[in-house]
Subunit: 388 residues, 2 copies
């Protein structure tokens, strides 16, 4: 098996972009990634593309060939959909295809438009990632589902809204200099606590925004990178994916996300690392409580111990293991289908040293990306390492 | 690389099933496939699942984990979407994962519900497989797009509606004894020619129906099949996938489908066979003209020569190389996300000798499945062979 390098990355601005089409955004991100990598478009053998609700937002499925065309790629193209983990899954299959020699160069990325549906429309659209029959019809929305998880966590382990507020404050702080982030604006714990309640205990600032945006990565084999003299020091050394029951009520616990634990274990084993080796992480903080659960699933903290991590300053930019230096879904934004590959793009820049927040992790060698679908009924984890 | 066996297959009835849910149908198909294979559900390592428009038909995306749960599978699950080639793409990635040793047992299948949207709703839903911006807004529907291809074909090569009618008559004839087929009813050339016109030159009987249904296959490594003493004589020996411009007007020709040609070439090369070795095929006859184009793309006929194949009796059950012995999309039905894996299921039974139409191909050793998305902007081709 060959090593898989992340040779280039590209990101559009995440935000509210009513003036843009999906193909326009993906073409921008893919073009940036191809330029960043220094590869020829003709060398790209496949597009692995993540999109979640394009059939609702743009009346457009079958986006694989459409986006390949928009990006100037002449290759096979497949859309992967695992809700919010769509481009994480797309990237994972690209990594495995290259590892096994099925291809030398693959573009893995994703795109989502959401704002054109309006807030209510986007909330309804997002609900198709939950169990329509047993959750959605009963009135469960994603803020509601994660609120249940937060309440259960508080009840089982303690912790309070102020602990969660520190997660939001940290991620907004990290996004301040990230020019692709939706919110480049500092907030305080008071702001979070005083914001309108969405679904108790989660308020407006505990929730990620509704975002439009696209992301892309160019993945190549080690051999291709060397032959073409690419500057590609970051490798994907581990991947994992696992699933869980779709509906919260079918789970044994509301305060554990076993799909993430299993995906992380697979990825760590694949990479030959342990949680203690990880220098930084991008995790799926669609809500503040989701970051807490991610920290525990990734083995950075034991059950019930992740809640205080941001408050204690352990996951802040100046902490021992910074988490979501990009700003996370919370402040950078969450264009669903783009998020998984966006995490890989941000981590790559952080590890290469050309991210606005690279100074926070000058000696970092190992990064982890945690990309979850729904209430973690799907999870994809990647380990990235500096290898050159 | 290991050989990949199709150890078991399962199909629901294809038709109009307002009384059923998607998960109910997929659970039935997957359960049949698991039983047919004789594998333990606990041994299944991944679900590769195809679905096209569940977010419209059932307000349900993120169907991977949902369908895994419905089928009693505890494993990672990913949805693949390449329009009508969705479960073909899902199966192809499963084949490659097993070939490379990433897994020993994968369930690959798909499901679609369409009738609950009504005829107009389903037609609008299907249109999301075309280019929304440049085709759909201009009024192009799939019957319209394929009608353009048929007109161009007639103009360039000759042929007429009666030639196409023979394709429909043949496929209805083949479906007569297939108990999972939507239409088990013989039709005549006159029926086809006198049926209401949908989009000239394609009439009602030139078009596949709107269908609900599910399909599943259990794919295993050769080693697993031998260790567990499975009766799995059919192997997937070749796969290919390719893409094309999304919109018809961006293509060089309306009478060629180069994505299918390229996918077929990849699959033949992978399997080490040539078109002349192929004993039977299941091809993507969403419209009668589509079967003609498929025959030419697969190398069975030169350009302009496929139009008369059914009329000359070469692709009928008693012909030299029977095509769509299942009844094809035309008569068996076309629940979009289920179709690709359904073709593999039908071919497997035909090659194993336990299909109602196996008597038509008693010595068959090589079968080909051709699964296309949109107006063949995506195409997946598989070669199946009897190896044990």
């Amino acid at each position: 098996m060959t090593d898989v390098r992340i040779a280039g990355v590209g990101l559009t601005h995440f935000g509210n972009h009513p003036e843009r089409t999906g193909r326009d955004m993906f073409a921008e991100a893919a073009g940036m990634a191809v330029s960043d990598a220094g590869v020829q478009r003709a060398d790209v053998e496949a597009l692995h593309y993540g999109n979640f609700m394009g059939s609702l937002a743009e009346h457009q499925s079958h986006q694989g060939p459409l986006m390949a065309e928009a990006a100037g790629l002449d290759c096979q193209a497949t859309r992967y959909e695992t809700a919010c983990a769509s481009s994480g899954a797309a990237a994972r299959e690209a990594v495995r295809a290259i590892e096994h020699g099925d291809a030398d160069v693959i573009v893995a990325g994703g795109m989502e438009r959401m704002n054109n549906m309006g807030t209510a429309g986007a909330t309804e659209g997002l609900a198709i990632a939950a169990d329509e029959l047993h959750e959605v019809r009963a009135g469960v929305t994603f803020p509601g589902a994660y609120a249940l998880m937060a309440r259960a966590y508080f009840q089982e382990f303690g912790g309070d809204r102020e602990d969660l507020a520190h997660v939001a404050v940290k991620n907004h702080e990290n996004a301040l200099g990230n020019e692709t982030a939706q919110y480049q604006r500092a907030i305080t714990v008071e702001d979070v606590l005083e914001a309108p309640m969405v679904s108790s205990p989660l308020g407006l600032y505990d929730s990620c925004p509704i975002s439009d945006g696209a992301s892309a990565t160019v993945l190549t084999s080690e051999e291709y990178a060397e032959e073409h003299d690419l500057d590609a020091p970051v490798a994907v050394t581990g991947t994992g994916q696992a699933g869980d029951r779709m509906a919260l009520h079918d789970r044994e616990s509301y305060v554990r996300t076993p799909a993430a634990e299993e995906a992380a274990e697979q990825a760590y084993t694949d990479a030959g690392v342990v949680p203690g080796d990880v220098d930084l992480a991008e995790v799926h903080d669609c809500f503040t409580i989701a970051e807490v659960l991610a920290l525990e699933s990734l083995g950075f903290y034991g059950p019930g111990e992740g809640i205080g991590a941001a408050r204690r300053g352990e996951t802040t930019a100046d902490g021992d293991r910074p988490v979501n230096l990009s700003g996370g879904l919370k402040a950078k934004g969450h264009p669903v289908g783009a998020t998984g590959a966006s995490q890989l793009a941000e981590l790559t820049k952080l590890l290469r040293g050309d991210h606005v927040n690279s100074d926070a992790v000058p000696d970092a060698e190992v990064g982890v990306a945690h990309n979850a679908g729904g209430t973690v009924a799907s999870c994809v984890v990647h380990v990235l390492e500096v290898v050159a």
